[in-house]
Symmetry: C2
Subunit: 219 residues, 2 copies
DNA sequence: ATGTTCTATGAAAACTTGTTCACTGTCAAG
DNA sequence: CTTGACAGTGAACAAGTTTTCATAGAACAT
């Protein structure tokens, strides 16, 4: 897979976000307006590049018609959790900002390839629950087994302010881990749901990327 | 919610299937070709009707741009499981027949309204696993708690030939229930994963609607 | 130096697509 | 027995959209 440039990545992300929010693709003019291009051809070129690099498939001549080609991840090390949300551009995942009839991005994984991709789910317009920029973690390791989150499960994480006891995706040493957040008075630390793992007491700062809201398991 | 006519339902279903398969909406002329209309206006009228009845939202002037308005179910009785897959046309759910870069329809539920809707998930083209007409069950009741499937969970069911020990969605007395399939010699019966429930031995025939493959839980 | 890629403008062409108009007919409800 | 919803034909229009052409600077590798 060829690397995408920043602009190409931004455009691809915008297109995905547009689909997630509106349930249909943006036109070239929509993208042009978003990025303040003076010419539609600027967009056109980027789309061609995206197609050439294999991440987007265009349907020639058809309006607002594309397919996303899932991006494949390389093998990772023995990281406990592989972060696959916004911020890591190995996977561009749906960010879903919306409230009307579409919301919430969810992932699926295919056990063989370890590929994670986005999906869109239309929600009821009556449900005003928004999940802006939800993302997914595929869990690796056993640090949360006491919370019934096991290796291979997929966790859906939503941004927000975590409360005491929430299971959070936290950024520590450049890696994302899934832990339970403990607030005791002025002390804040992270606790694994497995007695074999020690508590993680943040040295300087603690970056919470989101709160784990649901978990999807193979039966 | 006004009732849809057969043709309207067919067109709406086709549109959904098209999105699920191609990831973009069909044009009016695509629909026209599918249904062998001689005039685009036939389609146009149907789309207007669908919008008037509140199940589809058009974006005037924009090409291949629609939104699906989720259809709401009425209240059901105390059925153990509410079936919301193909066959029940109270909900038109994505049937996804495809193999290329899009597959598998999944639902989400909103706890307040009981609305179930479809979503689309693009799979990796390298993963040849197909899930034609997958659907979802929202579990009600506790008949499967020993298999860690609890009230409120959502189960993803895929069609297929079940093996001994699979958890299946079975049609019994016109209702769908979730049970484990037991094959003992020539005997076949269904077993609840809760000792308080008796085994279900089918009298005449047993209709298996699919195999539960994964379960999604709120944390 | 030279070629390639990325970036972008500006205009126009060509095609796709939604929309409208005029017209016909069936069927059920009031 | 009129009204309205439903279903459809056929043609044409207007707008939306993609695509092509011509042009060019910046960054970067060979």
């Amino acid at each position: 897979m060829e690397e995408l440039t920043k602009k190409q990545r931004a455009i691809l992300d915008y297109m995905k976000a547009h689909v997630a929010e509106h349930s249909y693709w943006p036109s070239i003019r929509d993208i042009q307006a978003k990025f303040r291009f003076a010419s539609t051809n600027a967009v056109f070129g980027h789309l061609q590049a995206l197609e050439r690099k294999g991440v987007l498939q265009r349907i020639p001549g058809a309006a607002r018609a594309y397919k996303i080609v899932p991006e494949v991840l390389g093998d990772t090390s023995e990281t406990v959790i592989r972060y696959e949300g916004p911020g890591d551009d190995a996977i561009a995942f749906e960010s879903v900002k919306f409230a009307g009839s579409i919301a919430a991005g969810f992932p699926d994984y295919t056990e063989s390839s370890g590929v994670l991709d986005s999906m869109q789910v239309p929600l009821s317009p009556s449900s005003r629950r928004r999940a802006p920029e939800s993302f997914a973690l595929r869990v690796r390791g056993d640090s949360m087994i006491d919370a019934d989150i096991n290796d291979g499960d997929t966790v859906i994480v939503e941004p927000g302010v975590p409360k005491h006891g929430d299971i959070v995706a936290a950024l520590i040493d450049g890696e994302t881990t899934l832990k339970r957040l403990i607030k005791q008075g002025s002390k804040v630390y992270l606790k694994a749901e497995n007695q074999n793992y020690p508590d993680l007491i943040p040295s300087t700062s603690l970056t919470i990327q989101g709160i784990a809201k649901s978990v999807m398991k193979r039966i």
